[in-house]
């Protein structure tokens, strides 16, 4: 996100929403910091890269801090949404489109034309923007920077400085503050510093793949690729521990935490995509589409991604396993059988115990399950070593990487923040969010409790839901909100003017109350209203 225009830079309609002098000063400092990077991008060769990189990053940080302090500390603590829909950048106005286009172009270059950023061919020295980051890269991991190092640094800086801004914005709300400290910590430590330090441990005889420990399959769909698994196994105990951790994190840790706290433990407390969405993306949260049509599309798309990633990963692992059980117990067939067995087990449990909650969605679940099982059977009969079905596994994976990993999560996911809102990827594309959401809907203590009959249907909750959930539709009926897509950001409860919503973990019993409860009526009428 080198092109991080300050998201609050506005061409406001009412003059009262215009930036104050101090805010303009903050924006100016930040833009100058950014300008150093733009100059580097256009191959200005700064004499002292350490100095200029530090200058650039410090100015961006200081600019944002000056801006945020003036924007929020000059007002009393409370909801700060005044004029949101009047600000050009936050309401799909001119500046919103400009920012969207710039971000999108940046992502396209990052993913497909890294040499434009100055990435050197093998053996040569970096130039341009990537070269500007060489000193920091050498300091952290001992080697020159790559486009991903540049991206990782800017991403982390964005989460940190906009995290600071967000914490000022919600300084009256401890839930929001703690959550933000958490994403800032996980980004800085787990996504940025630890993998760089791990890279330092690598030598000719010992090598670990880049591993952001908080990235869990299926989000890091590449985790079980041959080169990674080989490299982890070859790295001895530490590598093996990493491999086991990767498996345990999706099959053991995730279900336990999601049961206890809902998927928010990951999506809005740990995840890097969520981290960026909640900090730099916060000024765009209200742009998510709340229509029922969008909800339908969301469910089809995101679950298709889950099916895709499951098949793709199965195919990839299948392709490099052997056939001879005497060499290694995990053969192609054993693997396929265990995948099919696990899926059948989960599917059976859901159908037996949770069919009612799923209602109509049960059919769709069954379709997804059926597709995967048929594909697995297909693999068994029609696949060789290089090919699974008619497809080259490499082709399968590279299409997934291109379509989902790059286009969806990067270009659309972040590039389109100012157009579709800050959680487009999380809502429509993230397979991890879908898996966690599936469990959250069916087997978790988390819910958003509605406070009796206090709802006045104002719609603040729905407007500011970044996942496009029509929260009001439930609240005005007195129903709790139990939705698979809810990431538990807590903003609906914060913006509610009447104290109607509360995120909490409570018992499973009575969690989904599809009754109109206690809207203030006498008991007889309530009984009748609830007879549908």
């Amino acid at each position: 996100m080198s092109n991080k225009l300050n998201p609050s830079m506005s061409l406001a309609k009412p003059d009262s929403q215009a930036l104050s002098k101090t805010q303009k000063f903050g924006v100016a400092i930040g833009v100058i910091g950014l300008f150093i990077m733009i100059l580097a991008f256009f191959n200005v060769d700064f004499p002292n890269k350490t100095l200029f990189l530090s200058l650039s990053l410090v100015m961006i940080t200081v600019g944002t801090i000056i801006f945020s302090n003036n924007a929020y500390l000059t007002k009393q603590a409370g909801i700060q949404n005044d004029g949101v829909w009047f600000k050009s950048i936050a309401s799909r106005g001119f500046w919103g489109w400009i920012l969207g286009i710039v971000l999108t172009l940046f992502y396209i270059v990052l993913y497909f034309k890294a040499e434009w950023l100055g990435l050197a061919a093998k053996g040569e020295a970096n130039s341009g923007l990537v070269a500007l980051f060489d000193p920091l890269s050498r300091f952290l991991n001992g080697g020159p920077a790559s486009q991903w190092f540049v991206y990782g640094t800017l991403y982390t800086v964005a989460i940190l400085v906009f995290g600071y801004k967000f914490m000022l914005k919600y300084r009256h709300n401890r839930y929001e503050q703690l959550r933000t400290v958490s994403v800032m910590f996980f980004q800085l430590a787990f996504a940025f510093l630890i993998p760089e330090f791990m890279a330092r441990l690598n030598s000719d005889t010992f090598s670990l793949p880049y591993y952001d420990l908080k990235n869990i399959w299926p989000l890091n769909y590449y985790n079980f690729d041959k080169y990674r698994v080989d490299s982890m196994i070859e790295a001895g105990d530490i590598g093996l521990a990493l491999l086991i951790f990767g498996i345990v994190s999706i099959f053991v840790i995730t279900p336990i935490l999601t049961y206890k706290y809902g998927k928010r433990w990951y999506c809005s407390w740990v995840c890097g995509c969520g981290g960026l969405a909640e900090t730099a993306g916060d000024p765009f949260r209200h742009l998510s589409d709340k229509t029922q049509v969008a909800w339908k599309i969301e469910r089809w798309v995101v679950h298709s991604v889950v099916v895709f990633v499951t098949l793709m990963t199965t195919a990839v692992i299948y392709s490099y396993l052997g056939n001879d059980s005497s060499k290694y117990w995990l053969t192609k067939d054993v693997f396929l059988l265990s995948v099919a067995g696990l899926l059948t087990f989960v599917f059976a449990l859901v159908m037996i115990f949770k069919r009612k909650e799923l209602a109509k969605d049960a059919q769709y679940g069954a379709i997804g399950y059926f597709v995967i099982i048929m594909a697995i059977i297909g693999m068994h009969y029609f696949s060789g070593t290089k090919h699974v079905f008619l497809f080259n596994t490499y082709f399968l994976q590279s299409s997934y990487g291109f379509l989902i990993g790059a286009i969806f999560s990067g270009v659309i996911g972040v590039g389109f923040y100012p157009i579709f809102g800050n959680r487009v990827w999380c809502r429509f594309g993230c397979p991890m969010a879908a898996v966690l959401g599936f469990q959250q809907r069916l087997f978790s203590r988390f819910r958003i409790t509605t406070n009796g009959g206090q709802c006045i249907s104002c719609g603040n909750c729905s407007t500011y839901c970044e996942m496009g959930i029509d929260v009001r539709a439930y609240a005005q009926k007195g129903e709790n909100i139990v939705r698979s897509s809810c990431v538990g950001c807590g903003i609906c409860a914060a913006v509610c003017p009447r104290g109607v919503l509360k995120l909490e973990n409570d018992s499973l019993k009575g969690r989904i109350n599809s009754n109109d409860v206690l809207l203030g009526n006498d008991v007889d009428l309530m009984d009748l209203v609830n007879q549908r």
């Binding site: 009412p14 003059d15 009262s16 929403q17 009393q76 603590a77 409370g78 909801i79 949404n81 005044d82 004029g83 949101v84 829909w85 009047f86 600000k87 009256h172 709300n173 401890r174 839930y175 703690l178 229509t291 029922q292 409790t449 406070n451 009796g452 009959g453 206090q454 006045i456 249907s457 104002c458 719609g459 603040n460 729905s462 407007t463 009001r472 539709a473 005005q476 807590g490 409860a493 914060a494 913006v495 003017p497 009447r498 104290g499 509360k502 995120l503 909490e504 409860v517 206690l518 809207l519 203030g520 009526n521 006498d522 008991v523 007889d524 009428l525 009748l528 209203v529 549908r532």
Partner: protein, 432 residues
């Protein structure tokens, strides 16, 4: 299949329509002259403040009405002929009904002040009012100063709205402290201080004498009754409450007083004509409730009740324990049960206020029996269903204070104050 016609597409009318649709196959028509589709009136302030756009205030998407076979007519009914079950529209159209529900809501009060109809004077109730406000007060350059008259919930909302555009506001309130005709003095004083802390020029014990105009018939000043002080302004918000919007009904055979008179079944004096929501007036007030209740949820409840009656299950309007909520700038307010500004005879108040002056509670209880009667809570969210149960179970004030933690509804990780409140309660109680 009968034709049910509903005049007014506010929360009561729409709730009635939705429940009639759930319960029956009747033909349903909703008429409104305000907006084409139902929106949440309580959210109007957020449009002007830029938190939401008009479309966000609509609780149902526009396709909802057709899908549920609820006809919408955008038009103004100018007369009702109850003998022939006919509605006459302003544009000359007519409409026959089998059953009629009047849910025309409220209109802003005006008390005959001089200048109350000048350009630049407005109330805050309808979509049109907010549109007008946007024109009259787009920013602080066009509207250099505003005066608000009437210290109720709408007045403080208007003050907050104008404040977001940095328009200086003078707020004339008749009472000794803001809203102390409803709130006990401790609560009212705290809210008064909070309003002042936002830079609002709150003038207590101040009445409006007259509104003055410039040569073009536009507002340019108000005069205060008590002091004779002249305050220059470009905008006057009149917010001394609302009353039933029934001018049209008054010329019909339907019996009215301040509102459309109804019995407990929400029936008017004319067969097959019902009135619900803000415009309905109970012939006998229910409990401590007012005969006319202009509250969001009572409109919803009346809508649900009348739907039962119309669909063959005759039912009394029978609201449960009183509750309500509001927000004064940054301070949220909830109330459960009855807390009067002065404790009723044989009752007492207990008041606790946090030192940061943004949180307080007041409870009312019966002196001898210690029975808990109601709570006002400011800055601390509390659970509706718990208090509803405690009121039904006639719990003692001691019990409620000791178990207050169970009723807390603040977000996770928030600091809690129950032990401090209980401490304060115990100390005060022993002193008595």
């Amino acid at each position: 299949m009968e034709h049910i016609v509903i005049i007014g597409n506010g929360i009561s009318g729409v709730t009635a329509a939705r429940h009639i649709r759930k319960l029956s196959n009747h033909k349903i028509t909703i008429i409104s002259a305000e907006t084409e589709h139902f929106f949440s009136r309580t959210a109007l302030m957020y449009i002007y403040m830029g938190h939401m756009k008009y479309e966000h205030t609509k609780p149902y998407e526009d396709w909802f009405w057709k899908k549920n076979r609820i006809n919408l007519i955008f038009g103004f009914v100018k007369n009702i002929e109850t003998k022939s079950n006919t509605l006459y529209f302003e544009n000359g159209d007519t409409l026959q009904y089998d059953k009629l529900i009047i849910s025309t809501g409220s209109k802003s009060n005006k008390f005959g002040w001089k200048g109350q109809d000048l350009e630049g004077v407005l109330g805050l109730y309808s979509k049109q009012d907010v549109d007008l406000l946007e024109t009259l007060a787009p920013n602080k350059e066009v509207c250099k100063h505003a005066v608000i008259v009437g210290g109720g919930l709408i007045g403080v909302e208007l003050a907050e709205m104008l404040h977001t555009r940095k328009i200086p506001v003078t707020f004339l309130v008749r009472e000794d402290h803001f809203w102390d005709n409803v709130l006990p003095v401790g609560d009212a004083k705290m809210i008064s201080r909070h309003i002042l802390s936002h830079g609002i020029d709150l003038r207590l014990k101040s009445n409006l004498k007259e509104i003055q105009s410039d040569d073009n018939g536009r507002v340019n000043a108000v005069i205060i009754e008590e002091t004779g002080e002249v305050i220059k302004c470009n905008l006057v918000g009149l917010t001394p409450g609302v009353s039933p919007n029934i001018d049209m009904i008054k010329q019909t055979n339907i019996e009215t007083d301040q509102g459309v008179l109804v019995n407990r079944f929400l029936e008017t004096n004319i067969e097959n004509v019902y009135a619900i929501g803000d415009c309905a007036q109970q012939r006998e007030p229910i409990g401590h409730r007012k005969a006319i209740e202009a509250v969001w949820y009572t409109g919803r409840m009346m809508g649900e009740t009348v739907a039962q009656t119309i669909c063959g299950n005759k039912m009394k309007y029978n609201p449960g324990h009183w509750f309500n909520s509001a927000k004064f700038f940054n301070i949220e307010y909830q109330t459960y049960g009855w807390v009067f500004p002065e404790p009723k005879e044989s009752n007492k108040h207990f008041h606790w206020k946090h030192e940061d002056d943004s949180k307080c509670i007041t409870i009312e209880y019966e002196k001898n029996s210690n029975q808990f009667l109601g709570i006002n809570t400011f800055g601390i969210r509390m659970k509706h269903d718990i208090f509803d149960r405690w009121l039904t179970e006639k719990r003692s004030a001691d019990y409620v204070m000791e178990h207050l933690r169970e009723a807390n509804f603040d977000p996770e990780f928030y600091k809690t104050f129950e032990s401090e409140i209980l401490n304060s309660y115990s100390v005060q109680f022993k002193m008595i």
